[in-house]
């Protein structure tokens, strides 16, 4: 189980030497307990303490990395059941299944879809993370040929091999030397030979069973065979079973530190109907899947999945912020209205959404208030007349609009006088208090 800050403190040198960058050993211990720093920063810690702390600070779900380089995907390391308790750590990976019965040109087309899947959203680059080649043919030559095509077309993309056939697995692994693929996998019938292959080719091992009990026994057996990095599959395919097994796995790992199930989970979401597959995958995103296998990656589907993953894996303790700048809503002209608000993402989303709804193009000046909403930022002294004046003067607002009128949120109407004093040449107008009043407000103005 995880140690408390005080328990960790007892194992530290207690010299308060500050070499770790923290003012005291206790402060460092507290950060270690919250997993916000690493023990390596302490140059004087004893080997005994290192070992004890290392074991205790090992996350209940083992970290496993698939692939190498910039596109490597890190999975696991989760510590909680609910995202409001603490940030979910490593976002789940999406992998497109490519069957080895497809023609070479079809395989290439699918690989291209994966390579082209990147979308930028709220400053993050999101994409389909991996390719899962499945040995539908059960033929070693077809499988290795498919894997060869995939690695030739997308050498950087992490690969998952889906086969229960050791001969096919080995033929394919030869094309993935030093690339840390995921070999899925091992079951009760082939555990020894798959374990040998995973070790020989430095692959992580996917482990499949048909219930949690036999799965636990299988991972323990594989561990004694020397396999460390595993990704587990309880055999759940229906949404209800995925939710149940993933919940029981996460609970056992987090609450009981039950090591045989302390591994990232793989979920097979493939369905005939793509939109329904999206909902099965969404269930996995919300409920603890670490790798989700998809049969198709239409762009609309990716956008929804990437966005859900981003939402679920957001840090609940850090207000989401958007970049400080003047945003264009619709296609504004130099005569379009200019509104201002704070950079709390929810505030931005709601205000910009209502401006879009109004169908009146405009500019939205978003000011950095450390992610606070309008009233909170005002109360905290971050959304004041002088700070707004400074922001507007230094921004490119004056070149974006010909007029000199700034519309402020109704909740801070009190600022209008002071702001007119400080922002010379500008007229300050007071907008509605709530964002849902914006469409009527803007439409009313544009007809004047």
């Amino acid at each position: 189980m995880a140690l408390t800050g005080v328990e960790i403190f007892k194992l530290l040198p207690k010299t308060n030497c500050k070499k770790c960058g923290f003012p005291t050993c206790l402060a460092f211990a507290m950060k270690l307990a919250q997993r916000q720093t690493t023990l390596e920063l302490c140059p004087d810690v004893s080997d005994e303490a290192k070992q004890k702390l290392g074991e205790a600070s090992a996350p209940p779900i083992r970290p496993v990395t698939i692939g190498t380089g910039d596109r490597a995907i890190k999975l696991g390391e989760e510590t909680v059941l609910f995202r409001h308790d603490k940030k979910f750590v490593n976002p789940c990976a999406f992998a497109l299944e490519i069957q080895d019965t497809l023609t070479e040109s079809d395989i290439e087309a699918k690989v291209r879809e994966v390579l082209d899947s990147e979308i930028e959203r709220v400053g993050q680059k999101l994409r389909v993370d991996a390719i899962a080649v499945s040995n539908i043919s059960n033929d070693a030559a077809s499988f290795s040929a498919a894997v060869k095509s995939v690695t030739a077309a997308a050498p950087e993309v992490p690969v998952i091999l889906i086969t229960g056939n050791p001969r096919a697995a080995e033929e394919a692994l030869k094309y993935l030397a030093e690339k840390h693929p995921l070999l899925y996998g091992a079951d009760a019938s082939n555990a020894e030979v798959m374990a040998d292959l995973a070790k020989k080719y430095k692959a992580s091992l996917g482990v499949r069973s048909d219930n949690l009990d036999s799965l636990s026994l299988l991972t323990e057996k594989l561990k004694t065979l020397g396999v460390e990095d595993m990704i587990i599959d309880s055999g759940a395919r229906k949404a209800k079973d995925i939710l149940r097994d993933n919940t029981l796995i996460r609970r056992a790992a987090v609450k009981k530190n039950f090591k045989p199930l302390g591994y990232p989970v793989i979920t097979f979401a493939q369905r005939e109907d793509s939109m329904f597959e999206l909902l099965i995958a969404s269930t996995g995103v919300a409920k603890f899947s670490s790798v989700i296998i998809l049969s198709s990656i239409e762009r609309w589907k990716n956008l929804a999945l990437f966005t859900l993953r981003q939402n679920i894996y957001t840090d609940p303790q850090v207000p989401m912020q958007v970049e400080q700048k003047i945003y264009k809503i619709g296609e504004p002209t130099p005569d379009s209205p200019l509104l201002i608000t704070t950079n709390f993402s929810l505030t931005y989303f709601i205000v910009s959404g209502e401006m879009e709804n109004s169908r009146v193009p405009g500019y939205l000046a978003v000011m950095d208030c450390e992610g606070l909403s309008v009233l909170t930022a005002w109360a905290a002294g971050k959304f004041t007349a002088s700070k707004i004046a400074q922001f507007i003067s230094e921004s490119d607002a004056a070149s974006a609009v010909r007029h000199r009128e700034l519309i402020i949120p109704g909740y801070v109407a009190i600022l209008s006088g002071a702001l007119e004093d400080k922002l010379e040449g500008w007229k300050i107008s007071v907008g509605p208090r709530e964002a849902n009043g914006i469409p009527a407000f803007l439409k009313g103005r544009s007809t004047v």
């Binding site: 609910f82 995202r83 409001h84 990147e118 979308i119 959203r121 949690l212 009990d213 799965l215 636990s216 026994l217 323990e220 229906k238 949404a239 209800k240 939710l243 149940r244 919940t247 029981l248 609970r251 056992a252 609450k255 009981k256 039950f258 045989p260 199930l261 109907d273 939109m275 329904f276 999206l278 909902l279 099965i280 969404s282 269930t283 919300a286 239409e298 762009r299 609309w300 589907k301 990716n302 956008l303 929804a304 999945l305 966005t307 859900l308 981003q310 939402n311 679920i312 957001t314 609940p316 993402s345 929810l346 989303f349 709601i350 959404g353 879009e356 709804n357 849902n436 469409p439 009527a440």
Partner: protein
């Protein structure tokens, strides 16, 4: 090491709520476990999806979601019948948007007439929603609640600014009531306490913690719902044991992802599928977080989410 599943049992339970009358009455909630955790406790009723209709033509709805209702949505009665008879709706949610002062500013009496007409045309339960204008809703919903007396509807939404009159009207006319607060578990709890202090029975309330669309604050709604459910079950907090509403459609269909044509946003894919999937994924997330009642717009999104419920429940 043999695996022993760690099952959670809780002292608390969510109230069961029944709406409507007769054979087509609908019951939801009543579980003593987290959403779809049927492996460790009782979850006697599956979540329910209501189709939203409005009391004026949905001119502001994006094409994708206006299309399935073209030809029938100019009149709330034909719209309601279509949802019930052709789409197989189990519940209808009538939103009286025309009463908003910025829309048509229709009177409470006109709203009451619409409610009576719709009720006369359907035999499934009805949810009656105002235009989300706190002041106007107070008068509109009082009239609407009276027009629907004893039909066992859900009236909403009561907010901090107007709950007294709306709760009194729901009570006097034997309806259930939606209590809405803005994305904060404490505000939600506070409002429930205020309403029950008026003598409103706590098993007739429905919590709306405020919905948000995928990508637009969904994580806030998601976590508030999870925390409300944990308060209800683990802490046995009777002020949080009401079913949760996810008012999905109105939040989803105004976001850019549901509206922007493919040519204007590179890489976002087909508009129609994008809009429908945005609503379906938002709805699915809210169900997994704890909502037992959803209000949705697009028939195809409803169907997909019903199929998911079939598998999850």
């Amino acid at each position: 090491m043999a695996f022993t599943p760690l099952k959670e049992t809780y002292p608390g339970k969510v109230y069961t709520v029944e709406i409507g009358k007769g054979e087509k009455a609908v019951t939801f909630a009543g579980e003593n476990v987290l959403p779809f955790h049927t492996f460790e406790g009782a979850s006697p009723n599956r979540p329910v999806i209501a189709y939203e209709i409005q009391d004026m033509p949905p001119d502001e709805w994006p094409d994708t979601v206006r299309k399935p209702y073209s030809g029938i949505s100019s009149d709330p009665v034909s719209w309601a019948r279509f949802c019930q008879d052709s789409l197989g709706a189990k519940v209808i949610a009538l939103r009286l948007v025309s009463t908003h002062p910025d829309r048509l500013d229709r009177s409470p009496d006109e709203a009451a007439k619409t409610v009576s007409d719709v009720l006369a045309a359907i035999d499934i339960p009805l949810i009656i929603l105002g235009s989300n204008h706190a002041e106007k809703d107070a008068s509109v919903l009082v009239a609407a609640a009276g027009a629907a007396k004893d039909s066992n509807c859900i009236i909403g939404k009561a907010q901090e600014a107007n709950y007294k009159t709306i709760a009194a009207a729901a009570m006097a006319n034997n309806h259930k009531l939606i209590a809405m607060s803005e994305l904060d578990i404490n505000l939600s709890k506070q409002l429930n306490i205020l309403i029950t202090q008026m003598g409103f029975e706590k098993d007739r309330l429905i919590i709306d913690p405020m919905c948000s669309a995928l990508g637009y604050g969904l994580e806030y709604t998601y976590s508030v719902m999870e925390r409300i459910r944990l308060a209800a079950l683990a802490q046995n907090d009777a002020t949080m044991q009401q079913p949760i509403l996810g008012d999905i459609g109105m939040y989803v269909w105004k976001v850019k992802e549901a509206q922007a044509v493919e040519t204007s946003v590179s890489g976002w894919g087909a508009l129609e599928e994008r809009g429908i999937s945005w609503e379906a994924v938002t709805a699915a997330s809210m169900l997994i977080a704890g909502a037992e009642l959803l209000i949705m717009w697009h028939p195809e999104a409803v169907q997909k989410v019903e199929s998911l419920i079939d598998e999850l429940y």
